[in-house]
Structure formats: structure tokens, C-alpha cells
Symmetry: C2
Subunit: 220 residues, 2 copies
């Protein structure tokens, strides 16, 4: 079993990443038509690769380090949003991303493209039941923050040190009640404009970079 990815950065990152690259087609050796057929997308940027299936991480491994910072996505269904969150999380130095097995985007070639190849380096784990995983994370000493636009506490007001998990809901719907109730605390990003929400990858990035900033200076 193998699959195909496309695009300059996704293929370059796969070459220095964790999964085996079996074959690469490039323009001009391959025609634009052939590359589009091989990749199934007009966004191939002249390069397509055949690679091993995406190597999902063990969900239990993400919180091993003492200052783990993990992003959990509750039912984010757009593969581009998943990829954009992964890009931001990898650059911010997050330990990994947890996604659901059902009713959620999985890691596809479109995700790889939207992540600029970040998925090749960032551990991504799939879990059957998010609330169960969160319960286990709590037992391991992690503090669980859920992003909720109605929360009274701002993301800048909490202590991000130690093991921390940030749960982000799907655009438009937010967190499911059972997931929200599994969080230790809900935090919001203060809205200063008239449009009331950020793209999920932008919201995740704003919170993750603040978590890293506050960890580095010490807080609380």
C-alpha cells in the first residue's frame, strides 16, 4: 500500500521526513497532464511523489515529555483546515495533534499541501473517542484547555506551563458538549472587531504562540 502526495514543499518535506518515498515524478519529465492525473489535483506544482501511507503516531506517546503541548481537533472536517492547523502547530513547536477517527478530516494529500509538509515532522494521532483520550491525558497530569468563544477567561490569563492540551472545535459549531465538559478550563480569544470568529488555524496559532511565549518568560 502506498499513496501519493504533491506539491514542492510537501514532497521536499517527505524526503527528509519519516515515511519512505518510493518514486517522484517531476516536470518537465512528466507532462502537466500526467502530473494532474497522478496527483488528482491541479495544485501539483510540477511534482508528485508515491509514499508510504501516513504514519500516524501512538496517541499515548504525545504527552510523554514534561512540557508537552498537544492540539486536539474536535470534528474539524476540512482537510485544508487540518493541514493549516498542523503547519501552525509544527512551527509553534507543539508536541503533536490528535484527531478523531470518525467525522473528521484525515491526513490526505490536500492536508499535506495545506500544511506545507509539516505533517511529515509533526506527530498526528487518531483516536476513537476524544473524551476518553482527554480523561487519560488528565490522569497523566495534563491540563486541558478548550477554546470556546463564549468563555470568560482569555487565553492570555491561564498558566500554560507543564503538560497542556488545547482543544479546538470545528468552525461554526465549536466544541461538542461532552468534549467541553472534559476540559479543565475554557478560554476565549478576545474579539475586537465586528466579525466574530477566526479561522481555526489562525485561532490555534494565536493560542499556541502565546502558550510558548508565556512558558519562556514564566507566568502565574
Amino acid at each position: 500500500m502506498s499513496e501519493r502526495i504533491y506539491g514542492r514543499r510537501p514532497v521536499a518535506e517527505a524526503e527528509r521526513g519519516r515515511r519512505r518515498v518510493h518514486r517522484i515524478w517531476r516536470a518537465p519529465d512528466a507532462s502537466p497532464e500526467e502530473l494532474e492525473r497522478l496527483s488528482g489535483s491541479p495544485d501539483h506544482q510540477g511534482v508528485v511523489a508515491e509514499v508510504d501511507p501516513y504514519p500516524y503516531a501512538d496517541p499515548g506517546s504525545l504527552l510523554e515529555v514534561e512540557d508537552a503541548l498537544v492540539v486536539v481537533l474536535d470534528q474539524v472536517q476540512d482537510p485544508h483546515n487540518l493541514g493549516a492547523v498542523c503547519r501552525a502547530a509544527e512551527v509553534a513547536g507543539a508536541s503533536g495533534v490528535v484527531i478523531c477517527e470518525r467525522r473528521a478530516a484525515e491526513v490526505t494529500a490536500a492536508t499535506a499541501k495545506a500544511s506545507a509538509g509539516a505533517i511529515e515532522h509533526l506527530p498526528i494521532a487518531r483516536v476513537r473517542n476524544l473524551a476518553d483520550w482527554l480523561a487519560g491525558a488528565k490522569e497523566s497530569g495534563a491540563w486541558i484547555y478548550g477554546a470556546d468563544e463564549n468563555a470568560k477567561t482569555a487565553y492570555t490569563e491561564v498558566d500554560w506551563r507543564g503538560r497542556a492540551v488545547l482543544v479546538m472545535g470545528s468552525e461554526g459549531k465549536g466544541l461538542r458538549p461532552r468534549v467541553a465538559s472534559a476540559c479543565d478550563e475554557l478560554v476565549s480569544i478576545p474579539i475586537r472587531g465586528q466579525v466574530d470568529s477566526l479561522n481555526v488555524s489562525v485561532a490555534a496559532a494565536v493560542i499556541l504562540f502565546e502558550a510558548q511565549r508565556s512558558r519562556n518568560i514564566g507566568t502565574g
Copy 2:
């Protein structure tokens, strides 16, 4: 002269925004084919509107308030990136966005869509010469920060109080030398992963929200 925009949120925000909405077509009164023909896009979400041309702001007006926070885009050419930056800037409470007249994306229906309608509320000004506008901004007392991935100073280390301008370069190319030299200080976002850059809208959001956070608690 009028133009068309499409999508649920862009049209809803236009209705409570600054420009006149002449006519709205909605499904199921209009067929999917008609909506796609009217909008020129498959992303219409069942609604298309005919509106006045986009009302660009006076470039001189953006720095009028004492704590103005303005984003300047140097040659960002993708209308989606322009829209995504505008959405983040509007939600973060920025005073406005400045774009170039040439070699840069202008505000189109695709920009409106990517901004989730934020362009209807956020002042956006076009200037012929960015370096000249930055020189004028400096004269008015603004401090000019340029985002540069090689800068030694982190965006978290500078004083964002007072009138401030954040200049972002195009993805892949960064700031042009003449624009970089018109900045008072260059700042970077620390990269903690292996992928070396953020999407321009994510980078802008991370810096803008930090600027607002640090203004609210006081710094320096």
C-alpha cells in the same frame, strides 16, 4: 459601476457594512447554475449580491487615532491571503490594512469570501508607493515594525504601544529591501519546528494579538 460578491458571510456583512447593496440573489429562487454564472465561482453558498465598488479608505486616515495599529502588505499577491489577513486584522482590532496599487492583490469577491466579510468593516487603503507612505507614517509618530524571519529581535520583545505599523512581506520572498530599510525595527516569530514559515495571515494574527495583549497589560 457595481460588482458582485458571494457567500453567506460576505453578503451578510455587506448588508451591515459601508457599501450599498443593490440586489441579492438567493437559492432556491435562483438556481445553482445561475448563482455560479452570476458570481463566477462555485463557492457562492447559495447567495450572490450586487454591491457598490469596494470603498477603499484614505491612506492618510488610518493613523489618526493615537493607538492606531495598521498592517501593511508588501506585494501579497494572493487574494485569499489578502482576505485571510483582513479577517485576522479585523478580529484583532487593527485600525486598517494598507496594500500597494501595483503587483499586489486588490479587494475582490474572492478576498471578501476569504475574509468572512471582514473587508466590509475594516478600512483598507491602496497606496502607489509603500516606502513613501511609511515615511509619512513615521513623521506622524508611528513606529514601523517589519516582519522578517531572519530578524534577531522577537515580536514579543518590542513595545507595541502608541501608533504602530506592522509590515508583512509576500510569502516566500519577504520584504523588499527598500521597504525593509523604511522600517524602524525588524522582528521575527521564533520557529520551533522544522518547517520554516507560517502562512502570512497566521503570522500577522500571531503578531497582532501579541501587540494587543502587550498593550493591555503595559510593557517596556
